[in-house]
Amino acid sequence: MLELRLESKSFSRPVLGPLELRIEPGQRLALVGPSGCGKTTLLNIVAGLDTDFRGERIQTRESLCIAYMFQEPRLLPWRTVAQNLQLVGVATDEIEARLEEVGLDGIAALYPRQLSLGMARRVALARALAIKPDLLLLDEPLVSLDPETALKMRQLVKSLLDQRPWISLLLVSHDPEDARQLADECIYLTDQKVGVLLPSEEKTASAG
């Protein structure tokens, strides 16, 4: 479905690579590594937002719909929750249902700054799922949440993904527990940014 052969990616210094990644339909993949090791950069490349790298990004399916849930919710602060969802094509009469699905009720008319981080992330998740993606990119969906909220969020993501087995997942996290709960396979990005194990090789080591 999507293949990435990254030779190197640098800003002022090398950040990532070499690295190979293949994502198949329904595959649930996690990228785990310490902060600053280039995980978000990799997600940006996979999403097609960052094209300034050495290597190849091959999309084998022509109309591949990718939803990207950023680490910060990135809702438009001057639009209400409902309007933020409408902007990605959610019909007016569907908004409440979309929000209920992520455990939110009665917040459609609020502005993002009136929401807590946990709630805003849920809206961002609802927005990501609303575009009916083939591939969902999650960038640290649980970071900066208090433990209880993080636990609920993880369960929510898991159950929503279980209901949609066709969605491929690429999850980025610093917490191996997220990877264990949400993904089937795991790639560890090391500090050295190189010597990354391919998912097939890693599977035996980290599955379960």
Binding site: N44, A47, L49, I66, A67, Y68, F70, E72, R74, L76, P77, W78, R79, Q83, L87, V88, I107, L110, Y111, R113, Q114, L115, S116, L117, G118, M119, R127, I131, T149
Partner: protein, 254 residues
């Protein structure tokens, strides 16, 4: 709102009283009292002159304002978005920013003749660089994270303009409009004084030749009133609507 209006009226009343007292003490035709100025305003209004020249000036202001805003926004957008455009246009911008309004007006009258298009063009060219500079700052401060989000979710051009860019550029547009309106009407008066046979600037020119301070003040105040009305009836409601989201209530807990 009521208290603000009350303060406004109060300040004006105090100023008017001070002025009246000063005018009576000096008793000089070069400083007419507020009552005399009001009488002149009324007289000119009844004669129809005031409204006619006010409308002529207002039309020039409106045309120049519209063109200056559109061109300035486009220019500022290009310079804010692209470093190359910025390098290319920056010398031109500095030139126009520092070219005295009067020089531009004289040059255009000399080259094009004392015609309406020269007058309006002079005003536009005076204002465009100010709008461009303000907008360039605004465009440079656009949030790259939201930009990436809009790309990831494939916002249409219309959505980007209306939902992404316009709300972020709004404070810069308001600043450009406010300073624009004030600057443009002042330049329009100079343009009219130098080369037109109608408009408030022309009337001021006539009054100046006869040292008729009362008429000068009557025409000036009437236009200040118009600008104030534009501020109250157009700009402020627009601002209130656009800033609605910032006034929304406090953060909720999950």
């Amino acid at each position: 709102m009521i208290t603000r209006l009350r303060d406004y009226v109060l300040v004006l009343a105090v100023l008017a009283v001070l002025w009246q007292v000063l005018a009576q003490v000096l008793n000089d035709p070069l400083l007419p009292s507020p009552a005399q100025v009001m009488a002149t305003m009324w007289h000119e209004a009844v004669r129809g002159d005031l409204i006619y020249h006010l409308m002529v000036t207002l039309r020039r202001v409106a045309i120049a304002f519209l063109f200056a805003m559109v061109l300035g926004v486009l220019w500022g957008w290009c310079m804010g978005r692209s470093r190359r455009m910025n390098r290319l246009f920056d010398p031109l911008l500095v030139l126009f920013l520092n070219l005295p309004a009067l020089v531009l007006i004289i040059l255009l009258y000399v080259w094009m003749g004392l015609v309406e298009s020269a007058a309006v063009l002079a005003v536009i060219l005076n204002k465009v660089p100010n709008v461009a500079v303000t907008l360039r700052e605004g465009v440079r401060s656009l949030d790259p994270e939201l930009e990436a989000m809009a790309r990831a979710y494939r916002f249409t051009l219309r959505q980007r303009i209306l939902d992404l860019w316009l709300p972020q550029l709004f404070p810069y547009l308001m600043a450009a409009m406010r300073s624009g309106l004030a600057l443009i009407w002042k330049i329009v008066l100079v343009v009219e004084l130098l080369g037109r046979s109608d408009g408030i600037g022309f009337q001021l020119h006539l009054a100046f030749q006869m040292f008729d301070v009362s008429t000068i003040l009557a025409y000036s105040f009437s236009f200040i009133l118009v600008v104030q009305l534009i501020e109250w009836l157009l700009l402020q409601p627009l601002e209130r609507r656009a800033r609605h989201w910032q006034a929304a209530g406090e953060v909720q807990n999950a």
